[in-house]
């Protein structure tokens, strides 16, 4: 069995497991972890497919795509985390003093 097949199979399993995990997760941070892992699985598929060359030198285009993909997914991870944090903070604040208005303007 050649190398890329091993990793392509691994990618398929990872995407499936993490994808299901992302759909079932309730809490945003957990959902985010699963989504990130599912993305890693997709990237793994790209990199594994790049390995099918006869020369042994891998196809660089999927590698570049994966680099772009990693950076994009880090951006959305950071954004999602910061939104979750703002949500937690707003919830805690409104829980602490329910007299203040829930309207939280961050000018």
């Amino acid at each position: 069995m050649s190398q890329w097949i091993l990793y392509a199979a691994s990618a398929a399993a990872t995407v499936a497991i993490a994808g299901v995990g992302a759909f079932v997760a309730v809490e945003p941070v957990r959902r985010l972890l699963s989504i990130n892992i599912a993305y890693s699985g997709v990237f793994m598929a790209f990199v594994a497919l790049a390995r099918r060359t006869t020369s042994g030198e891998a196809d660089p285009v999927p590698h570049a795509l994966v680099l772009t993909g990693i950076v994009v997914s880090v951006s959305s991870t950071a954004l999602a985390l910061s939104l979750t944090r703002r949500l937690v903070r707003a919830t805690e604040r409104s829980g602490r003093d329910s007299s203040s208005s829930p309207d939280e303007r961050e000018a």
């Binding site: 951006s75 954004l79 939104l83 949500l87």
Partner: protein, 474 residues
């Protein structure tokens, strides 16, 4: 090779950076770049109209190594109409946000989103489409999170998590396409992609991801709260323009990359989803108490009409879906802007607070009415042309049941539109004491409504662009 496609992306991008550097006084930069961008798109559309598909090879490489920008008739039409709607909507943002950090953040994000949208419309590369989609997603989330309440943040977070899950499906589909035919160019991949398991699976993944991102039934429950809790200008932008991005990608690649699998099972599944979206989301719209929620659900129903192009699949159906996209862009942006103005005046967007609007804000009432007629699909609006095209396409291709769905959707739309208009027309005695609605927003909503009217009154030019099929160009 023409330079205009690249300019449509470069100008808003430069504008975004300039407004970011200028900071507080970014409104002038915004106006200048909006005018320039609309100007460039109009020039590009004229060129496409005269000479057919326009091509630009970024970096001079050309497919399959590099990225190509190709603007055909439909893309040019979307560029112009969505551009005008985007520009007008942002003008109401100046009325909505007081001068300060939130306004300048809005302007920068809005210009970046516009650059992303134009990039998406002109791109002919599957992975570049993914990057543009993500750019639109992240800026949309930023725009929603500028809303006033905790609910805005919750909505933004939910929007982001669902959208990146959708992109995941799309990206996996792209991996399969690249694995099968070693190119990312939409048309080249279409030539190399044979009918088979891989192409069907790739289409299924791409369609699933993109329909999740568009909020197609049954995975739509996350979207209305995003529209309802975003600041009004952002909501107008989202439901009118940015919410159509995922559909536009699907529209493009069903035409160029996956023409072979259109009669296969995945396309029919998309059709069932679209039909269900039209009926079910219209019914839900009927039951809403908040005006913004009502429009949000009606937008979901309109998304359903657009997706009908995939199961019907004829050029006429594709033109109809395109026409829905542009006329709904103008109409829903008009309605959201008008609602924003009313919300400013009365303090909430409840339908029960509508009586007296026709007396007090005749302009706003008028734009609500035109937008509503558009949603129903009655003449003389663009919505009528669009639905007429869809019904004819359904009958011509022998799939009459889609025509029935379209007509039923129009009837339910009439019910909820008349409910709103009747409430607004009821004279309120005594007239409740309210603040003045911002005049700028009222004028903007009227102009947007005029765009949707214009699309119905003189459809020949837009239709000739919409029907211009690919490959006619030099």
């Amino acid at each position: 090779m023409s330079a205009w496609p690249a300019w449509t992306v470069v100008i808003p991008l430069v504008g975004a950076f300039a407004s970011w550097l200028v900071g507080r006084k970014s409104a002038f930069v915004a106006i200048a770049s909006a005018l320039a961008t609309v100007g460039v798109t109009v020039v590009l559309a004229l060129e496409v109209h005269a000479r057919g598909t326009v091509l630009h090879r970024v970096g001079g490489w050309g497919a399959p190594l590099g990225i190509e920008l190709r603007v055909d008739g439909p893309a040019a039409l979307l560029l112009v109409v969505l551009g005008i709607v985007t520009a007008l909507t942002s003008a109401s943002a100046v009325a909505h946000f007081p001068m300060g950090r939130r306004r300048s953040t809005f302007i920068t994000l809005w210009l970046i989103a516009w650059a992303g949208l134009n990039a998406l419309l002109v791109s002919a590369d599957l992975f570049n489409l993914y990057v543009a989609l993500e750019l639109i997603t992240l800026t949309s989330v930023g725009l929603i999170s500028l809303g006033p309440s905790r609910e805005s943040i919750r909505a933004a977070l939910q929007y982001l998590l669902v959208a990146i899950l959708g992109s995941l499906g799309y990206l996996l589909g792209v991996a399969l396409v690249y694995g099968e035919c070693a190119t990312l160019d939409v048309a080249l991949a279409g030539e190399r992609l044979a009918r088979g398991t891989v192409s069907s699976a790739a289409f299924a993944l791409v369609a699933a991801g993109l329909s999740l991102k568009s909020g197609l039934f049954p995975l739509h429950a996350w979207l209305p709260s995003a529209y309802a809790n975003a600041p009004s200008p952002a909501a107008a932008l989202l439901s009118g323009v940015l919410g159509k991005a995922a559909f536009v990608v699907l529209y493009r690649i069903t035409g160029e990359t996956f023409p072979l699998v259109l009669d296969a099972a995945p396309a029919q599944i998309v059709g069932v989803q679209a039909g269900a979206a039209i009926v079910w989301c219209s019914l839900l719209a009927l039951r809403q108490r908040r005006l913004k929620m009502l429009i949000a659900y009606s937008s979901l129903a309109q998304i359903g009409y657009m997706f009908l192009a995939i199961p019907i699949g004829t050029p006429l159906a594709r033109a109809g879906a395109l026409y829905i996209a542009i006329s709904h862009a103008a109409a829903s942006a008009a309605i959201f802007t008008a609602t924003g103005a009313l919300e400013r005046a009365s303090g909430n967007d409840s339908i029960d607070a509508l009586p007296g609007v026709a007396q007090r804000n005749p302009l706003t009432f008028f734009s609500l009415a035109i937008g509503g007629v558009n949603l129903m699909g009655l003449p003389p609006t663009g919505g009528f042309i669009a639905k007429w095209l869809l019904v004819r396409a359904a009958l011509e291709s022998g799939q009459w049941w889609w025509a029935v769905v379209v007509l039923v959707g129009g009837l339910i739309a009439a019910a909820y539109v008349f409910r709103v208009l009747r409430e607004a027309f009821v004279p309120a005695v005594p007239l409740p004491a309210t603040a003045d609605a911002p005049q700028l927003a009222e004028v903007v909503s009227l102009l947007l409504a005029a765009v949707s009217l214009l699309l119905g009154v003189s459809p020949s030019w837009p239709l000739s662009l919409a029907m211009q099929s690919l490959g006619e160009g030099p």
